[in-house]
Amino acid sequence: DQQVKQNSPSLSVQEGRISILNCDYTNSMFDYFLWYKKYPAEGPTFLISISSIKDKNEDGRFTVFLNKSAKHLSLHIVPSQPGDSAVYFCAASVDKAAGNKLTFGGGTRVLVKP
């Protein structure tokens, strides 16, 4: 039972263009969502998050959009840079409180071509 799904296993984009990563979830109890980035041989690093009371959160080149009715969120990276090449994971939790477990999607591998 995969509660968080990233249906695109990979994405290739030209440097300077927009990268759009998508994530769907099934558990309506999820109310906090996060995106992580992972380079090989490193642990996931936090990128950006969004609470279910919002529909958009922006941090520099990264914007996350949440559509609660569709149970869908997306991450936009503008402009994409070669250093953004990594695996991106969407994650969800039922509560923002400390210590609540994260449920991850399967990841999307992004390749930004110079």
Partner: protein, 111 residues
């Protein structure tokens, strides 16, 4: 400020053996969670420790057990290893907010 430290970085074990993985949380963090990441998949929650007690547990068999010490460091033990236990094991720590910090992981190979 050291982040989350995991040891060893790589490990090869034989089926049926037991393994212990170690994690030192980020300074100031008191909660430690363990995740298993199989090849090509996202991390899956194993369990979480807070105040030396297991607070939450994911859908993993009892062969997976853990411990948290008074200094907040933690161990993950896996008994009777199976080939399917081969994965990257990630430790994450946090405190009071949602600032999970992940370690670089231990790559376990079971042969």
């Amino acid at each position: 400020d050291a982040g989350v430290t995991q040891s060893p970085t790589h490990l090869i074990k034989t089926r049926g053996q037991q393994v212990t993985l170690r994690c030192s949380p980020k300074s100031g963090h008191d909660t430690v969670s363990w995740y298993q990441q199989a090849l090509g998949q996202g991390p899956q929650f194993i369990f979480q420790y807070y105040e030396e007690e297991e607070r939450q547990r994911g859908n993993f068999p009892d062969r997976f057990s853990g411990h948290q010490f008074p200094n907040y460091s933690s161990e993950l033990n896996v008994n009777a290893l199976l080939l399917g236990d081969s994965a990257l094991y990630l430790c994450a720590s946090d405190r009071a907010d949602y600032g999970y910090t992940f370690g670089s992981g231990t790559r376990l190979t079971v042969v």
